[in-house]
Symmetry: C2
Subunit: 357 residues, 2 copies
């Protein structure tokens, strides 16, 4: 008995000891700065693979960026005289001091006409597959051009009427000539679009997230790192990947259940179906970029949700059937805050507009 008893006790002791040793080992190893650094490195490597840092600009082979075009585009971005009520400029729906988004549910154009959808930021926006929510604008240039005669935006009667206004302002004639030196008749709406596009293609807002992705682990705080990990682990990166965290695909809003169940959207917007008339495109929208998302409420194509946390929670539920905890939601929101970037100087100076004659 004694022997019988002794043996198991010794075995039990040895098992307990070894468990304690193991626990201690894990406590020591996993709480050490070395392990933290390893964890950071792992997160950093994953983030680098999934996102990568923001490039310096968003070039386009169709519209090379030149200083003359950017200068002119910057002025045209602020120009209200090419709108039907003399009040609408690009800045109206994209106020630069508010991260180039107007904070409204839906943008208000000429004569305060409501636009069909929420106006997205134009920062970091030119490298997306298309402009607008439903892919009915091929590029930022196309958007800038079509907006001029868009009934709820600038509302000018014709492209010619825009060109007529610009040609009547001698300062602009000189600036178009300088920006498009090879054109016989450079004051055209296509060149308006090219100039504004060139300006927009320079508007990058690098943030602490880019510093992190480039290797500076301390650029994100612990909550932001947790949020980033949760963001990736939850599957948000299925759509929100790349340096812009989105903008590269169309996706059905409400994969799991109708989006309006949670957003309380009124009326229901059929999304890209309006463009393609393809049943499969019902409720499909372009995946928006998430750069500066914390600074550009309200959220979604119709601005139906005011708070970032609510938008995060709704997205996880609608797209991934995931019920995030309050903590996870707050962590992801904190991570998204790290995408709030530095607005370039060039976007924060008001250009003097040439006077009418």
């Amino acid at each position: 008995m004694t022997i019988m008893l002794k043996y198991p006790i010794a075995r039990r002791r040895s098992t307990i000891c070894s468990t304690i040793v193991r626990v201690l080992f894990f406590i020591i190893v996993f709480s050490s700065p070395l392990f933290a650094a390893d964890a950071d490195r792992d997160l950093l490597n994953r983030a680098n693979a999934v996102f990568g840092p923001l490039p310096a600009s968003m070039p386009s082979p169709d519209n090379p960026i030149t200083p003359e075009k950017v200068k002119l585009g910057n002025m045209l971005f602020w120009e209200p005289r090419i709108s039907s009520d003399g009040v609408v400029s690009c800045v109206k729906c994209h106020p630069l001091g508010l991260f180039a988004a107007d904070g409204l549910k839906k943008a208000l154009g000429n004569h305060c006409k409501e636009n069909p959808r929420n106006s997205p930021t134009i920062f970091n926006a030119a490298a997306q597959i298309s402009a607008h929510w439903i892919g009915n604008r091929a590029s930022v240039e196309d958007q800038a051009k079509q907006a001029l005669i868009g009934p709820p935006s600038f509302g000018m009667p014709t492209y010619e009427s825009v060109e007529k206004v610009l040609k009547s302002i001698p300062g602009y004639v000189v600036l178009f000539k300088a920006a498009f030196p090879n054109d016989q008749d450079p004051v055209t709406v296509d060149n308006v679009a090219r100039a504004i596009g060139a300006f927009e293609r320079t508007l990058m807002t690098p943030s602490s997230f880019d510093a992190f992705v480039k290797g500076k682990a301390s650029a994100l705080n612990e909550q932001q790192k947790r949020g980033l990990r949760t963001f990736m682990d939850t599957g948000c990166t299925a759509c929100h990947a790349g340096a812009y965290l989105g903008g590269q695909m169309y996706q059905k809003f409400g994969l799991i259940q109708p989006y309006w169940n949670l957003t309380k959207s009124q009326p229901v917007d059929e999304g890209r179906f309006a463009v393609t008339k393809n049943e499969a495109d019902k409720y499909v929208f372009k995946v928006p970029i998430l750069r500066n998302v914390a600074g550009t409420p309200p959220y979604f194509h119709d601005g139906s949700v005011d708070k970032l946390e609510d938008a995060v929670m709704i997205m996880a539920k609608l797209q991934l059937a995931r019920d995030l905890t309050k903590e996870q939601t707050a962590d992801i929101a904190a991570f998204l805050g790290s995408l709030t970037g530095t607005i370039p100087e060039s976007a924060l100076s008001v250009p003097l507009l040439p006077p009418a004659e």
Copy 2:
């Protein structure tokens, strides 16, 4: 006969000679640089006595200018979240790249409601006897405050509703505290008004005319000098005097004949009568300042006239019963062009607005 004839001939010859000599003398003297300099000096002295150069700022004993107030005021000047449709900020009617005037006949406020009168520039504007065209705003501070609940401007329901919005934005709470350190509860509409007023009181636009008045004769070209002389000789300075060329008195618009005869104004605006109900104030308006006037069409309280030359011609006729020639009108317009000044850097940078929580 011979003698009889000779004497008069000799006398005639001597008279002719002396006339030639006199003419030559005048030609030589008056065309000499010395005389030109004298003429310039005379014009310069007159201009200095009548106008004087622009001061460095427009201080008010009621609202001392401090850097903290100016910083906050600059931000509030761009803030649309304190308007009933989320679109109106001071900048809407005073776009800084267009000399802080919107170029419309009558300003468009919240929900595109038309304001009763043309929006004046806010550059160099704070030292006038009052704000607005009919003297229904005591100062720029009073204007900024009343605009917040003005039905056609910001259109907020109450002052409290403005304060509520600002208090909900943590960044503003900090900024108000810094700007009004002695206030227990600094986020008030009166402090909004003081901050915006302090910002506006710094917005001076010195121009080539100021260089001239300070003694640099070459700062105006010959046409501008002729225009300045004609401006003074015609009597325009009866009202448009001082460093701001106006803004110091009320005056009947149409002293000689009803203003709408020439401006074709529709409807007729009774001006200051609306404020005082005094018959003598019918068609009386504040004399506007003329700083940057060439850059701020259209003209008059209702923006009824598009061209500066037309406005000059109409004013001479309506107020002074003077029919200016085309040349005189062009000269005065050229002189008025010398009042187009340099917009201060501080007015041309877009402030980042604090995010909502």
